[in-house]
């Protein structure tokens, strides 16, 4: 057997390779990015297709298409990406799949690099599919292999849920033999894939009928030590913290798959009078068990009961406290000594020069509303730049500006990155062009997806200009500027002119990301 040192994300990718995938699709997003970075780097070695897509929805659909053609496919994203892919995701559970389809989704409890800490297990339950939750790199590998088999056996997509600590922990794993890829199979399944109400109702019933089988499958992913008195139910990464701090005497039920294995849970709690529930994310398990257990006179403790904080990731410390163990910290430091060190734009970052020009251009307009978006340029919201005032969801800047302009504001500006624009800003710009909205959109073309480590973008330079033209923006109000300190004055003038124009303008601020330039220089 081959051993390799890999991140949890990379172990998952290797699991997919050894399960015989033919294709992988994704949109980057911390902490899931390294899955597809890895697959793209190795695609020739393993004879697979792997690519970055425009967004998570297109990635999911591409994976479903590959599955419909009989091949095994992996689609990866961060938790909020699943909101974007949700329509395709929910309906793929109804249509079912042909080749194994696995969705790897990485949650970010504590919001290390995210806008929220939503828990993807709710999505798995919502769609009524199967979900696996590995607790280390070896399980990332093995569970992904199994996920593909289960997907084909059950005829539905299977989710592998990661959290940041699992995705970004490096360890040694053992690999097994690689399975051969599936053959191309072009048979169309009209009855299953055409989700007109007549077909969809039948398909939905089939999905409902599978549920008891799904639950049986999740009993294969448990470990149980029965006992009396106080016991622990733990899942995924929480198993690690439980194993780390427990004395070895507490009865436990370790859960690594969903839907919850209810029969096993009932068996486990029989002789217990108090159950502590440990999970990393929202109180998903606790919510599902609380009513049933309390009705039978048992105490249930966890995040809902207030034993463990409701927000933020689970930690060894919160686990210790939950189990009634003392947390001893010999060297604590008073908060007055600690100064935060938030991420900052790199030296020479083109976004900074654009923001300096933008700030000067809107200086006289006291009521200008400048909406931002998600990417490295979100750092422009922080001191000393203070240039943008929103970061909600990808692509939102365009319609936040448009909506504010419809509401009556005179100077509405959206600021969006090249990748974010293609991700989900384009439909919004089409609306703005059609409605001749009075707003200005600044597209920051650094020709890469910088925030997540410099992945390839779909459109840059001239391509972006053509997209804007094609979407209906008037040619004379598509301006290209070069954000350099030496061009500051002329850039301020261009921005001033376009924001005072009573209609739609797009300014493309084009200069390559400094990190990408450095990387290219190193290669030479």
């Amino acid at each position: 057997m081959k051993k390799e040192i890999v991140l949890g994300d990379e172990a998952l990718a290797l699991g997919a390779i050894d399960a015989g995938i033919s294709c992988a699709f994704a949109y980057p997003g911390t902490p899931s990015t390294e899955i597809t970075d890895f697959l793209i780097a190795k695609k020739n070695e393993f004879g697979i297709q792997a690519e970055w897509c425009a967004n998570e929805k297109t990635a999911f659909e591409a994976a479903l298409g590959a599955s419909f053609a009989g091949k095994r496919a992996l689609v990866s994203m961060k938790h909020v990406g699943l909101n974007v892919a949700a329509d395709a995701f929910m309906n793929s559970a109804i249509s079912g799949i042909k080749g194994g389809l696995v969705l790897a989704v990485a949650d970010d409890p504590s919001m290390h690099s995210s806008q929220n800490e939503q828990d993807s297990r709710y999505y798995a339950e919502f769609a009524k599919i199967f979900c696996l939750e590995p607790r280390n790199a070896q399980e990332c590998y093995e569970f992904t292999c199994k996920a593909f088999d289960l997907s084909e056996e059950l005829g539905i997509p299977v989710m592998v849920r990661l959290v940041t600590r699992i995705a970004h922990t490096r360890e040694e794993i053992e690999r097994r033999e690689r399975r051969a890829q599936n053959k191309l199979d072009e048979e169309m399944k009209w009855n299953e894939w055409v989700l007109l109400p007549g077909n969809a109702r039948i398909q939905f019933k089939k999905l409902l009928e599978k549920q008891s089988l799904l639950e049986k499958k999740s009993t294969q992913f448990i470990e149980m030590k029965k006992g009396t008195g106080k016991g622990v139910i733990c899942a995924g990464n929480a198993i690690n913290y439980f194993m780390e701090v427990d004395s070895g005497k507490t009865p436990f039920l370790k859960i690594s798959a969903y839907p919850l294995p209810m029969e096993k849970i009932k068996e486990f709690v029989k002789e217990l009078n108090e159950i502590i529930i440990l999970e990393d994310g929202y109180p998903f398990i606790e919510e599902r068990l609380k009513g049933m257990l309390e009705a039978s006179g048992k105490k249930v403790k966890g995040k809902l009961s207030g034993l463990i904080p409701l927000s933020g990731e689970l930690t060894p410390e919160s686990t210790k406290k939950a189990l009634g163990l003392a947390v001893k910290i010999p060297f604590s430091v008073e908060t007055e000594f600690i100064v935060g060190r938030p991420p900052q734009p790199c030296n020479g970052c083109p976004h900074v020069d654009l923001f300096n020009a933008l700030n000067e251009a809107v200086q006289e307009q006291k009521n200008a509303m400048v909406f931002g978006d998600i990417g490295c340029y979100t750092l422009g919201a922080l001191k000393p730049l203070n240039a943008i005032n929103s970061c909600i969801d990808m692509g939102s800047s365009v319609n936040l500006a448009r909506g504010a302009s419809i509401a009556g504001t005179k100077t509405a500006i959206g600021v969006i990155g090249d990748s974010t624009f293609v991700h989900s800003g384009m439909p919004a710009l089409a609306e703005a062009a059609k409605r001749k909205s009075n707003m200005t959109l600044i597209i920051l073309d650094n020709s890469t997806v910088a925030m997540t480590g410099g992945q390839e973008t779909i459109a840059k330079g001239k391509e972006l200009m053509h997209i804007c033209e094609g979407l209906g923006v008037e040619k004379e109000h598509i301006k290209v500027i070069n954000p350099l300190p030496s061009k500051h004055a002329e850039n301020v003038e261009v921005i001033k002119k376009e924001i005072s124009f009573n209609g739609l303008s797009v300014i493309i601020s084009k200069r390559a990301c400094i990190q990408i330039l450095k990387r290219l220089a190193k290669k030479k």
């Binding site: 290390h112 780390e244 947390v327 000594f337």
Partner: protein, 187 residues
């Protein structure tokens, strides 16, 4: 053997390289490891760390529990204070004395606090310059904690040679010099 090592600094300072070399050394002695890293936003000049756990037996938690680090190694004084709560009572606490000025803080007060906690401050930047390249500061600091890592004599040196061996000869020799300077600077 069981060792919990927390290495911290600022994105771009070479925190991961230190961890990588320690892991190479651990592997050559058949020791298991788990290494939790920061990827994402903070790599842009923010606070970064590695939780590195070495052990003969299975390791569970991907992160070191607070109060359980045998070593806290900081490449920057403010980062040293930020991660001090991970240190165990008998743990080794080492920090570079060089401030990285992408934020403002009271340097004097910070240094004083590190000393009060029993931390050892090292002018590792100067030693790195002496070795021939300020960028080898991380390797100077690796040298400084090397005796406490519990490896056999020369294991780390061999790992360094493996890590830098494929690069230009001068890069390897500068790093080996940096390592030796660090090794002799403390204790």
């Amino acid at each position: 053997m069981k060792k919990n090592i927390l290495i911290c600094g600022v994105g771009g300072q070479g925190v991961l390289t230190i961890a990588k070399i320690i892991v190479m050394a651990a592997q050559s002695q058949g020791i298991k490891f788990k290494q939790n890293e920061v990827h994402g936003m903070s790599q842009r000049g923010g606070s970064v760390y590695v939780h590195l756990r070495l052990s003969d037996s299975e390791i569970f938690s991907p992160i070191i529990p607070k109060g359980k680090a045998d070593i806290v190694l900081a490449l920057e004084p403010m980062e040293a204070l930020r991660y001090a709560p991970f240190l165990s009572r008998e743990g080794l606490f080492v920090s570079s004395s060089a401030q990285l000025k992408n934020i403002e803080y009271d340097y004097g007060k910070t240094i004083e606090k590190i000393r009060e906690l029993g931390g050892k401050l090292l002018d590792s930047k100067k030693l790195a310059e002496k070795a021939g390249n300020a960028l080898t500061e991380n390797v100077v600091l690796l040298g400084a904690i090397s005796k406490k890592l519990g490896f056999k004599e020369n294991t780390l040196r061999k790992a360094l040679i493996k890590a830098f061996g494929s690069k230009e000869k001068s890069i390897l020799s500068t790093n080996l010099k940096a390592f030796e300077l660090g090794k002799n600077a403390l204790l």
